[in-house]
């Protein structure tokens, strides 16, 4: 934890900084690249903060999605509630939270859908102390 170099705490090379994120297993860090791809997808999700929009979306999801400048892949992933796919397409979890809240799904139940576990299996893992960091820190270091 930490090191001695107090004055330069972070890499100044943005490329080196970003490259490390791809080495974390099972994780999509919300970088500028993802934010740019997912801009309209995330803004669609934000629109669900208004009750009238939630009602309109739930009444005809396809028609509501067609109002947005987003790809067919994105629309399908929303309709499928495929959250891992939505992350791959530039979605961010706090924006996507508006989608699963519209479905009246808690963070815990929504998050469990990304893990390949059932809702109950995920809950049991959390009660038992959560997922250990052992083995999932780094792809290249296998730790």
């Amino acid at each position: 934890m930490g090191d001695e170099a107090v004055t330069q705490t972070m890499p100044r090379d943005v490329h080196a900084y970003l490259a490390e994120f791809d080495d974390i297993p099972g994780t999509r860090v919300y970088t500028a690249q993802r934010a740019r791809v997912g801009y309209h997808l995330n803004q669609f999700a934000m629109s669900l903060m208004k009750d009238e929009n939630r009602q309109r979306f739930l009444a005809d999801q396809r028609a509501y999605l067609d109002e947005w400048d987003i790809s067919e892949d994105m629309k399908q992933a929303v309709l499928d509630r495929d959250y891992n796919r939505l992350l791959d397409l530039g979605g961010n979890i706090y924006f996507l939270a508006k989608l699963f809240s519209t479905d009246k799904l808690s963070f815990q139940d929504a998050v469990s859908t990304m893990t390949g576990m059932s809702k109950d299996e995920y809950f049991s893992m959390m009660v038992a102390g959560g997922r250990s960091p052992e083995g999932v820190r780094s792809i290249k270091d296998k730790n």
Binding site: M1, G2, D3, A5, V6, T9, M10, V14, Y17, L18, E20, F21, I24, G26, T27, R28, V29, Y30, T31, A32, A35, N42, Q43, A45, M46, L48, M49, K50, D51, R54, Y83, N84, L87, N92, I93, Y94, F95, A97, K98, L99, F100, S101, T102, K104, S106, F107, Q108, V111, S112, G116, Y122, M126, V127, G129, G130, R131, S132, P133, V136, R137
Partner: protein
Amino acid sequence: MARITHGLSTSHIPAIGAMIDQGRTDGDYWAPIFEGYQWTKQYLADNMPDVVILVYNDHASAFDMKIIPTFAIGCAEEFKPADEGWGPRPVPPVPGHPDLAWHIAQSCILDEFDITIINEMEVDHGLSVPMDVMFDSKDNRTPAKWPVRVVPVAVNVVTYPPPTGNRCWMLGEAIARAVESYPEDLNVHIWGTGGMSHQLQGPRAGLINKEWDQNFLDLMTQDPEKLRTIQHIEYLRETGSEGIEMVMWLIMRGALQGNVTELHRHYHVPCSNTALGHLVLKNEVAETVVA
């Protein structure tokens, strides 16, 4: 003059707010989570601050992808609860302290921290859950009116890169200088919220690292300088993608410039997807420096 007497930290897990709103705070799962705040509620009742500078992150509520301020300060008269998809939480609006907030904003900018000034803002669970766990009744009911005024400080920890831990620490120092130059005699708290280890996305979701978290809690009083140099990649690898929120605790810690004593600690796993952490720190120098 105003002085920062305490630094508090707490996770701001949305499920806590949901349980309070639904009156479901007892039972084997939730009771120990709420129990850990009882000490703090009593302490605050006996030592009520005038103002809380509440450092939190907006979770895509007030700020969408159109505008992403790294640091923002709320200068409004009040802040209403945001609708995060379930309708706004049934909690009272949070009263602001525009005069102190503007003072901090001006002072920080002249101190080379160019913080964004926000005059209208709704606040989400990142701010309302800390208010509840500190100021609700002992049977976890939200008061009709919050007992303090609040200066919200919002930090971007959603879109990368968030500010470095060291930058957060230095902002805390700048906020402390600003508070010290405010003429009114105010008892000010600074709270750092969010964390501890958690990951809300992808196949690695559910990650919890108790050992790392507890070392972080220890270092808050034993060797806080070490916390300044933790890099983003370490938070991500060791504490999950949302563990990065802990940089906000360093704004609080950087603002405590005297001998810091840990008065209370609460750490509990799990709370929803998250390792819950809570500290009450007393800033010992504050009383004597006033003269």
